[in-house]
């Protein structure tokens, strides 16, 4: 969805090689916090590369499908909460949270025909400006917000409501995961908190741009979810200060992608052509299994990391236990004592050798299992088996 108004500032857009930029939304922005150390992801995000398309082109499409049952449920729940000018939502805010919501006005900023996002954003600004000055308006649904992502203007079309109470705005986020007896899945709450933080940030920029104190947008957001096993909504206040700090930090950091990009080979692009695999490999990734939950490139990077025998594919904690030895083969050779450790690996080597001896001893005395499953099987790297026999 490329539009003329979207490429401003400095630009890594040449890295897209003519492909359309990926449209950021709160989810993709929140995902920036997931693996900030990854240069590959940083550069691709800063250049608004459509990672999903890249991954599919490489043959490693991300398995982020959504069940239509979940989508239907989510839509139905949201429609119910917002029906009749957010009647249910207001009742919740009043009764459940005890908020004193005096008079009510509901403005839906979405529903005007086919106007451009610029126009819609202007309308959001206009209404917000009036609200900030006169206190007019209570609920602003679908505000169209804007945030600069590494010099690139991103529009956010949140399914959230900006709720004005006592001169302050709160983000109201409607989610369809259940809150059972006051508890919800911590990962889902965390994802919601990160997204809300992005909206708070964008709202604050807007408020500040209108010449008001950005603190008029509260760090307290309201999460509206189905309660227990019903469709009845419940509202829970959520303090998103930690997530705000993280999102701000990571947005500031994205500009560093330019430094990385500058060191890339001349003319490199992520165009969806035959040069793509090479182009992607030219930027270093920092793969960890957690990437699978948040990055479209994860399957490709995992395959790459496995192919080069990186210990990181086993998890961050495993790599940490190996004291920074990145290669599976090196670690195994150190454990078996067939490789003279460099000075910086001496301790890890010692630890691994002791671990190998202890395993050998324990499995030897364990009897049955070691016979059934030899420590080193037929596919062991060359040289490994005979060394073990020698040292045993």
């Amino acid at each position: 969805m490329s539009r003329d108004d979207e490429h401003t500032a400095t630009d890594l857009s040449h890295l897209r090689g003519g492909e359309a930029p990926r449209n950021h939304d709160a989810r993709t922005i929140a995902a920036l916090t997931a693996n900030p150390g990854c240069a590959r992801r940083g550069v691709m995000d800063a250049a608004a590369v459509d990672k999903d398309a890249v991954a599919r082109h490489l043959g490693f499409g991300a398995p982020f499908g959504q069940s239509q049952f979940a989508i239907t449920r989510g839509n139905a729940f949201e429609a119910q909460v917002k029906a009749d000018g957010c009647a249910e939502l207001l009742a919740l805010l009043r009764d459940r949270l005890g908020l004193d919501v005096p008079e009510v006005a509901y403005d839906d900023l979405e529903s005007v025909g086919t106007e451009s996002r610029e126009v819609r954003h202007a309308r959001t600004r206009h209404l917000m400006a009036r609200a900030l000055e006169t206190g007019a308006g209570t609920l602003f649904d679908h505000p169209l917000l804007r945030l600069d992502i590494a010099g690139q203007r991103a529009y956010l079309e949140p399914d959230v409501i900006a709720f004005q109470l006592g001169g302050r705005f709160h983000v109201v986020e409607v989610k369809s995961f259940a809150v059972v007896d006051g508890q919800a899945e911590p990962e889902q709450v965390a994802a919601a908190a990160r997204q809300s933080a992005v909206y708070v940030l964008a709202l604050r920029e807007l408020v500040e741009g209108l010449g008001h104190d950005p603190e008029r947008v509260s760090h307290e957001v309201f999460l509206v979810c189905p309660e227990n096993f019903s469709n009845r909504p419940t509202a829970t206040p959520l303090d998103v200060r930690p997530q705000l700090a993280v999102v701000k930090r990571q947005l500031a950091r994205l500009t560093r992608a330019e430094d990385i990009a500058r060191r890339l080979p001349e003319g490199l692009t992520f165009a969806l052509d035959e040069g793509l695999p090479e182009a992607v490999r030219a930027v270093e990734a920092r793969y960890a299994p957690e990437c699978m939950a948040s990055c479209e490139m994860a399957l490709f990077c995992r395959d790459e990391a496995r192919a080069c025998g990186a210990t990181g594919t086993l998890g961050r904690n495993v790599r940490d236990e190996l004291g920074g030895v990145d290669s599976v083969v090196t670690a195994l050779e150190l454990a078996r004592g067939v490789r003279e450790p460099s000075e910086d690996m001496a301790e890890t080597a010692e630890q691994l050798r002791i671990a190998a001896r202890l395993r050998r001893e324990a499995l030897g005395s364990g009897g049955e299992r070691s016979a059934e499953q030899p420590l080193v099987g037929a596919q062991a790297p060359r040289g490994a088996t005979d060394v073990l026999e020698r040292t045993a």
């Binding site: 069940s67 239907t72 299994p289 001893e361 009897g367």
Partner: protein, 490 residues
Amino acid sequence: MSTLTALAQLEALATGRAQPVATVRHCHLSEKPLVMIPLKLAGEAAAPLATMLGTDRDAPELLVVPQPRNRDLRFAYAAELAKAVLAHVEAERGATETLEPSKDGEERFRYERAPQIVVPNRGGVGFLRLLGRSTRFRSTEGPWAVDPAVPMLGRWLTWYADRNDRPGSSLLLTLTETLRLHWATGQSSLEDGNLGALMGWIDPPDGMDGPSAAARAEDPVACPPAGPTTDPTFDNEVLAPAIAAYDESGGAPRAEERVRAAVASQLRPTWDLAWRALDLLRALPEGASVPRRWERDRDSFTYFHREFAENPPQAKLDDAVRAARRLHDLERSQESYEAQRAFDDPLVMAEQRLAGQAFGGVVTAADPTRLDESGKRPKLRPHLWIRTEDPVRLDEGATVVNAARPGLKGRIVEIDGGDVLLELTGGMGRKLTPEAGVVPEPGLEVVFTSRTSDSWGAAKFPERDDTPWTHGGPPAEYEPADEDATEVWS
């Protein structure tokens, strides 16, 4: 996580097969566990879609909710499930042993057996917990009446889920966690959460190695996920049209059969996988402390079963006193479970040795009749010299116990390079000469550890009605409310 497990994972990568991280089985396996593979409807907290279950691998029972949004169908399913679970509970009870009466003369009993349930993964436990929560308060009378078995199911499922929180309990086992306790694979813990991939590494199909079997398991078409969440593509392309057809037909048997066939195709592979996993676990020799822990499970079961009729459903939330008691019990279980596993299994003890908290080696010299005569009365304090290659990280004066005979206690006198001088302080009998064979002789391999169990006494807690002001005072008594009994389940 330790270097030892990390090394096992590296070996798994090198060999293309999972590697053992235990030499014995650390959980109890009943002869007839009830295997349950639940599926829920995507996007809902605990809307059941189907469950494949049974104690006979060749005859699984399949319970399906052909339209998961239909409340009546859900409760019909819950009633069916309840019958299966309650039948299992009654069938797996066995005879009643009468035990020594307690100190205050109360009669005590223990059932000979206890009903074990096995689910594929943690998600399965979470689903059963929520299903328990959503059914245990239902009323069996009045306008929203459900089958009397439904709230009973809710209470049993809640009890099972609570037992699963307890370290070392085997009443509700999750296969992925249990397998990971015994094998390390060449993939990350995240990927091990996929039962198919995990089993692929441990026991790949003929002609495949771990990595290729795991890769195959990640393809939801070849290997449907083990639940409770379904594959979105299956939902969209198979399940949704089948349910729509069921709706259109007005609930015709043929349409229902189509939904059943669809979910059966998703469940059957996991069912077979689950039984294969049980075979693998069963092949391992049982750890020495497993019967003792299973006895605690049986005690808990006996108590819950015998008091079932008297008690109301478990409260939605623990009050302050119950929470504190439960935490105390869990921490106690955790500590003794960890200690017992190490005593049962040299490969687990190796973790402590690598961390320097335990050490093993050969006895190089012994003075088994040494006496300490510095006090009023002489005390038997044999000396033991042990040569070890382990990286001992214990202070002089540290208390240690023998891994093979935890009753044998000692104190480290001196560590000089690889030589440890130990003064034995207890567990040798009451006389001034040690009982025969108790003090290890030179040439013997021994392991001593500083991590001991049972350092916890029973703790005292206030009565619920005495909850102090610091914790909000006594909580209101829970009264099952109409609201709970009729809670919307949509």
